[in-house]
Amino acid sequence: MARPTRAYNADAGDTALERRFVTPEGVDLRLQLASAGERAAAFCIDVFAIVAILTVVSLLLGYTGLATEADEVVIIVWLLLFFFLRSFYFTFFELRPGAATPGKRVLGLRIAPRNGGRLRAEAVFARNAMREIEVFLPISFFFAQGPGGVDGWIIFVGSIWGGIFAFFPLFNRDRLRPGDMIAGTWVVKAPKRRLQEDMARAGEEALPAFQFSAEELDAYGAHELHVLEDVLRTRNEDTIALVADRIRTKIGRNAAPDEDDATFLDAYYAALRARLEQLLLFGVKRRDKHDRDAKP
């Protein structure tokens, strides 16, 4: 099974939440953990969904209850629905193949076992059973009404105590709730990404019209290449003109009479990528324009 450990590689982006996670095939998936903000946002969406379901069903039940006078059945259905939503809404969705509630799916998150094994049903149940003390306990303390005096103090101390559980993910590096600790799970990012067009395709067509010297291509590193990739993908005319100007100044090259900025950038992108990838083959990774020592 895959064994996750803390991230070690320096080229990765946000290393604070990146975890080494080697599959049995020996490839590090470099899992990104969900941030506390994303977790909170997903939870809010789910709570909103629960409240919406309860409201709609309550209205429907109230209506049928009035119409048929079968209020006993109506109350039973409502009690059971409330119980199952509160205790099993999260469990139900996280047991499905996506291992994510609707809120998590919207944010591109899912739960996964920390040890890389299979996600067990009891782990999903455990992590959500703990919501009783992480969510409902602090809320009940917070809204408890005491007549003052001793009761007020109990509520105050209880709120702090409950707050510790509610804000637990902020106090550890892996953003674990108590439920994640009990269940041995964590919440990771698993967004769906689309395979987009290769930006070097347009560049290679444009390239014959341009000739770049090795010095001109050594002005930048991988970081600038990636920024350029984003610029070309968005195709905003103003940005393209601005960036083309910057690059021409930096490499000391004058625009040819009827040179198109976008075509110039396409060609420069393809040439720069070819140059940096060639260096990569020789084991040299030039991270950015300041990475001057990286020469073959």
């Binding site: 599959t23 049995p24 095939e25 490839v27 998936l29 470099r30 006993e72 109350i75 039973i76 009690l79 119980f83 509160r86 205790s87 047991l95 193949p97 291992a99 996964a112 890389g116 094994g117 299979r118 996600l119 049903a121 782990a123 149940f125 059973a129 703990m130 009783e132 003390i133 105590w161 108590p178 600790m181 009990i182 269940a183 041995g184 698993a190 990404r193 689309r194 395979l195 987009q196 290769d198 070097a200 290679e204 390239l207 014959p208 000739q211 770049f212 010297s213 090795a214 991988a222 990636h226 990739e229 393809a270 040439a271 990528r273 070819a274 140059r275 990838e277 060639q278 990569l280 083959l281």
Partner: protein, 346 residues
């Protein structure tokens, strides 16, 4: 300069790589999308066989791309695709009903057996608290009000006459009966989950919850015994109480198991110990919810339909024997313990 120029004439190496391999990636993406919608049944046999191949091909493409390509989009795409495929291929694909059957057949009894020490402790706490409350209320009936919550006690209090106390044991209440049973089930199930969750705070709140439950029981028992209704109360209480009290004690035991692992992880790291305890304990607590549901049925229907004390005791005894045999009596397939073997099956 000329060298750079000649290399530019050919296609970029990373682009050529992508053109050669991207058919596999798109195929994997398509298979995953269909599986997410319709489960493994949505794929043909050939596609199922092909799935691991395109997965490995994508993974190896990811390694190659990371060390040779600077196309940001391709690397991000391959990372997300490989991660999703990994979670599918190494995730659990057993259907919910399969998982539930294996829970009934072995995981539930095994988990209850695994927390037997905690169960004994939880039972002892309940009995001690019950005995203490019992003797206090027997000496001074006013103590009853300290233990029994007003909404649960209703008109059963030391102020009530013996006759009206007796009637609460046999009068079903008629209307609103099953509503009350449903309410009790959902209430008790939440208390049970709560007792489990509270164990995380080093057992202490769970111990209080168990002791409080014992106190309420002891106080009621003392009230009825003082009016010579002890035997009758026993039948009224135990017909569902054997199941319900056992369930609550098991929930408390599950909480104690977790709290003990938090406080005293032994040879493992604290996180590993808590996760291991949590797996066992959560199985037991899920079972507790089923027990409470059955207890609710017994309370809502069985107790109202059966008003003969001896029959009530007989039902109580048989439920006790059944639970005992189910949890501790059977010979459950035991290879690899509670979690070892399940790894390959589910």
């Amino acid at each position: 300069m000329t060298k750079t120029k000649t290399e530019m004439d050919s296609v970029l190496r990373s682009r050529r790589f992508r053109l050669e391999r991207e058919a596999d990636w798109l195929k994997l993406e398509d298979l995953l999308a269909r599986v997410a919608k319709g489960g493994a049944a949505a794929l043909t046999n050939d596609e199922l066989v092909d799935l691991p191949r395109v997965y490995r091909s994508t993974l190896s493409a990811l390694s190659v791309a990371r060390s040779t390509s600077l196309d940001k989009n391709v690397i991000a795409y391959l990372e997300s695709l490989s991660t999703r495929a990994y979670f599918f291929l190494y995730g659990s694909r057993a259907s919910l009903s399969d998982r539930f059957m294996s829970f009934l057949r072995r995981d539930w009894p095994l988990s209850v057996r695994a927390i037997w020490r905690e169960t004994v402790v939880a039972l002892a706490i309940t009995l001690l608290a019950g005995a203490a409350a019992f003797s206090l209320v027997m000496n001074d009936a006013d103590w009853f009000y300290s233990f029994a919550p007003a909404d649960l006690a209703g008109d059963r209090s030391p102020a009530a006459s013996t006759e009206s106390l007796r009637s609460t044991l046999y009068d079903g209440g008629g209307e609103g009966l099953s509503v009350f049973a449903t309410f009790l089930f959902t209430h008790n199930a939440r208390v049970a989950i709560f007792a489990f969750a509270l164990g995380f705070a080093f057992c202490i709140p769970t111990v209080f919850l168990l002791a409080y439950n014992g106190c309420v029981l002891g106080a009621f028992l003392a009230l009825f015994v003082s009016r010579n209704l002890g035997f009758e109360l026993g039948g009224w209480l135990l017909i569902h109480g054997v199941t319900e009290l056992f369930a609550i004690i098991l929930a408390g035991a599950a909480g104690l198991k977790i709290g003990w692992a938090v406080a005293n992880p032994g040879d493992q790291t604290r996180l590993a110990a808590v996760a291991a305890a949590g797996r066992t304990a959560s199985l037991a607590v899920f079972g507790v919810i089923i027990m409470l549901f059955l207890a609710g049925l017994l309370e809502g229907f069985g107790r109202q339909l059966i008003t003969n004390d001896l029959v009530r005791y007989a039902v109580a005894l048989s439920t006790g024997v059944l639970w005992w045999l189910y949890f501790y009596g059977g010979r459950v397939a035991h290879e690899g313990g509670l979690h070892g073997e399940a790894d390959t099956r589910l």
